[in-house]
């Protein structure tokens, strides 16, 4: 019997149909992957199962009984737990308090018993953790372990994991898959959400493919005979995911560039984060004209602080940063912009733009004091601003009705394009790009990667900060790896293997060894 059956699920957000009449079943002791591009509707579907969203149409059955999951509490009571993509841990509370949150039905907090149970579960699955540590002190991988322990702590039968490998290095992913297999063997059912085909193939019993809100394919990997095998199924899935009316852009070759003199240089830069702890420790590297330097690393190892300190949004504790010889250490953002350094942030809505302002008002963020956008830097020239917005929409193929559209009405991919357009149009000498394609569908992602390549061929040097190895590998000339605030090594892209980079991301191989 199927543990979960979702029938005819439809969910709309304004004009967007996120889930369109989807049928999805989950069996016992099964790992069922929900595969699809970013934006295909996988997370939405599972948020309905976990009780965060309500479907507009459709029915859900758990163990044969029809249920109405109107809140996360009900979902949990049904034995369904979810590991969300953006963690649901409270950073200022300790690990133990997070475990107790929502799981403790009593009036008091039974800390001793909880600790005992916690340690047992941790041991059972080989996860080592101190329950009294505050969550903000943990790395992302460790936080994920806490979330997983919490799911086990509640004795849930159905586990939904949303893109769990996005915060893990290649080695950690191996451990993770091993754990999944043992979970399946102990009788649990797992729904694994990913956009990575290879992962789906490695561990699934079944794969359901979503595309643009619709279910387009379902394959049962175990019932196919040997031989007829994986390749054919793989092709089948690729076709169904990517067959498209518009052709996807090919990954363009990076045009031949001559890399010139050093444009950016960091010397022993040490930076503190918002909590006052050291985020970067004596980081030194240099960037040449026309070069793309990729900085690989798992989120939370100092990347944000690195980008901010170069962009002028954060001060150094010690060290020196210079552009073409000019010292820009601790100078203001505007000073650094004037030197030709620009920063495309990964936090689109939180930092990159203002949702309640129009597209036009957002794209002049870097140039509103200059002519023709303002007369003498005081009075805004609304017409020029609007025209500029329209022009950028056209050249970057941003899907927006006009430049007067409020940014919050645009999709993530289009916002990213607008941000890129904004920074590119300032003709940067140095461009800092942080996770430029994360969360985007493959078409938009390829478009953006191609644009970055084009920009570099025009002489812009690019500092590409990302946790996505594919992105780094496709673009970079050299690859540096950052781990716990230190720049461990810089390798040339040609020579660096994914394994090597993966090990460095875990802090395993150190420079000089």
């Amino acid at each position: 019997m199927n543990v979960i059956e979702m029938k005819g699920i439809t969910k709309r957000f304004n004009d967007l149909i996120a889930n369109d009449n989807i049928y999805f079943d989950l069996g016992e002791s099964e790992i069922h992957t929900l595969l699809g591009e970013n934006g295909a509707g996988k997370t939405t579907l599972m948020n309905i199962l976990s009780g965060m969203y309500q479907p507009d149409e459709g029915r859900i059955y758990v163990k044969g009984k029809k249920v109405n999951i109107s809140s996360p509490e009900i979902s949990l009571n049904l034995g369904i737990g979810m590991l969300y993509q953006h963690f649901t841990l409270v950073p200022t509370l300790s690990v133990l308090e997070n475990i107790l949150l929502g799981t403790n039905k009593k009036f008091f907090l039974p800390k001793k018993e909880a600790k005992k149970k916690f340690n047992e579960i941790a041991k059972q699955y080989g996860l080592h953790m101190d329950p009294d540590v505050k969550v903000w002190q943990l790395s992302l991988g460790e936080q994920q372990k806490v979330e997983i322990i919490k799911l086990f702590y509640q004795g849930l039968d159905v586990l939904i994991l949303d893109e769990p490998t996005s915060v893990l290095t290649p080695l950690e992913i191996e451990d993770f898959f091993r754990m999944l297999k043992s979970m399946k063997e102990s009788g649990k059912s797992v729904i694994f959400i990913t956009h990575k085909l290879k992962e789906a193939f490695r561990i699934s019993n079944k794969i359901t493919v979503l595309r643009r809100g619709k279910k387009v394919e379902e394959v049962d990997l175990e019932n196919k005979t040997e031989g007829k095998g994986k390749d054919k199924i793989l092709n089948q899935i690729v076709e169904v995911m990517f067959k498209d009316v518009e052709p996807i852009e090919e990954a363009k070759e990076i045009p031949k560039r001559t890399m010139g003199e050093t444009v950016l240089s960091l010397e022993e830069v040490t930076v503190k984060n918002d909590k006052g702890l050291e985020a970067l420790h004596k980081v030194s590297f240099s960037l040449r004209r026309g070069e793309i330097l990729g900085i690989a690393g798992v989120d939370g190892n100092g990347q944000k602080e690195l980008a901010e300190v170069i962009a002028g949004q954060r001060k150094v504790s010690s060290g020196r940063i210079s552009i073409n010889g000019t010292d820009i250490t601790n100078k203001s953002v505007k000073f650094i912009n004037n030197k030709g350094v620009f920063y495309v942030t990964d936090d689109r809505m939180g930092e990159g733009c203002v949702g309640n302002l129009t597209l036009a008002e957002n794209v002049i963020l870097r140039c509103y004091k200059k002519e023709p956008f303002s007369n003498k830097g005081i009075i805004l020239n609304l017409k020029a601003i609007e025209e500029y917005g329209e022009e950028l929409i056209r050249s970057f193929r941003v899907k927006a009705p006009t430049a007067k559209a409020l940014v919050k009405t645009l999709s993530g991919g289009n916002i990213q394009k607008a941000l890129l357009a904004r920074e590119f149009s300032q003709q940067p000498i140095i461009l800092i790009c942080s996770k430029p394609t994360h969360g985007l569908d493959v078409m938009t992602a390829q478009f953006i990667l191609n644009e970055i390549k084009m920009q570099s061929s025009r002489g812009t040097s690019v500092l590409l900060i990302s946790s996505d190895l594919e992105e780094i590998k496709e673009l970079s000339d050299r690859i540096g790896v950052i781990f716990k605030g230190e720049l461990l090594d810089i390798l040339s892209n040609e020579k660096a293997t994914r394994e090597e980079i993966g090990r460095l991301m875990l802090g395993l191989k150190r420079k000089g060894k």
């Binding site: 957000f13 976990s50 965060m52 969203y53 809140s71 996360p72 509490e73 949990l76 009571n77 979810m82 969300y84 963690f87 649901t88 841990l89 409270v90 950073p91 200022t92 509370l93 308090e97 997070n98 107790l100 949150l101 929502g102 799981t103 403790n104 039905k105 009593k106 009036f107 008091f108 907090l109 919490k150």
Partner: protein
């Protein structure tokens, strides 16, 4: 020298100490309530309005029934009603908390003054003889500090509430929920905690305590009611909660400091220092600003402070 001898004389000290505790009681009550509210992520700027309404309702009922307990209960009831409206506005309707808070503040002030004028006109009624202090045997006879043990029951209760509120916040499930909801509501929601209900309960608690504080002020402390009777005590309580970094024991220090400033109004006159009355009245507010300047750097506000929670 005379002045010093007077200040350190037993009667003066006793009056000052006792008066300070009484004066700090409304602030302690309001601050303990607001502590819960803000720990849950809500800013209640209407606290002042709730205290005024509590003070007014309590005063009127106490005047009519000549019973202090009916008065206090009415004050709490009136204030909680307003708090329910406020809670509904900001938690369920997700109205801007600053706007709603200011609206409640203005409303509370206005309606209390309006009703007072209508009921009493130009009269100035006074509540007499219905409250008394409750001295603790033996302790209330120790020289110098005896006035600590000769206070109204409500004062003892307010002091007792300080450790109790800490205990609730840090040692119970509900307190954990409150702190989680104030810091990162989506995390709490995903794990089955009802964010809205948790916050709503804190707002009601805050309303109850604000009402009790206001009621105490008009019935037990002043024995009369005037326009704007609280004179900013609600805002001072909010400032104290922020300065105390949500730690209930520190709330006492702030409230007591206010109480001393209040008491000095009489104290300095007794001593014979010829300080204009208005300067003494300014003292509490200047003290708050001074302390804000000195202490309030790097205050960590809860992550979801002042932001309404929306699931979809």
């Amino acid at each position: 020298m005379e002045i010093l001898r007077t200040i350190f004389s037993e009667p003066f000290f006793v009056t000052l100490l006792g008066g300070s505790l009484t004066a700090s009681t409304p602030i302690i009550l309001a601050a303990v309530g607001e502590n819960f509210v803000e720990s849950g992520g809500v800013l209640n700027l209407g606290l002042e309005g709730m205290m005024i309404i509590g003070a007014f309702a309590a005063f009127v009922v106490a005047l009519i029934t000549k019973n202090v307990y009916w008065g206090l209960l009415s004050g709490m009831f009136a204030s909680v009603s307003i708090a329910v409206a406020f809670g509904y506005l900001v938690i369920y309707l997700k109205v801007n908390q600053i706007v709603a808070g200011l609206g409640i503040y203005l409303f509370g002030m206005g309606i209390a003054s309006l009703l007072f004028r209508i009921i009493f006109g130009r009269e100035f009624p006074v509540v007499q003889g219905i409250t008394a202090k409750t001295p603790i045997p033996y302790l209330s006879e120790i020289p110098y500090i005896r006035s600590i043990f000769n206070q109204h029951i409500i004062t003892y209760i307010s002091l007792f509430l300080l450790p109790v509120s800490w205990w609730i916040l840090y040692k119970t499930s509900y307190g954990l929920n409150v702190r989680a909801v104030g810091e990162k509501p989506i995390a709490a929601d995903a794990h089955g905690v009802n964010v809205y209900r948790t916050r709503f309960i804190t707002v009601m608690l805050g309303g109850l305590l604000a009402g009790l504080g206001g009621a105490f002020l008009s019935i037990c402390d002043l024995s009369f009611f005037v326009d704007n009777i609280t004179q900013g005590r609600g805002f001072i309580a909010i400032a104290i909660v922020m300065l105390a970094k949500w730690n209930p024991s520190r709330i006492f220090y702030g409230a007591f400091l206010f109480g001393i400033c209040q008491s000095l109004t009489f104290g300095l006159q007794i001593v014979g220092l010829d300080v204009p009355r208005e300067f003494i009245l300014m003292l509490p507010y200047v003290a708050v600003i001074a302390i804000l300047t000195i202490l309030a750097r790097n205050t960590h506000l809860p992550g979801a402070f002042c932001m309404p929670y929306e699931r979809e």
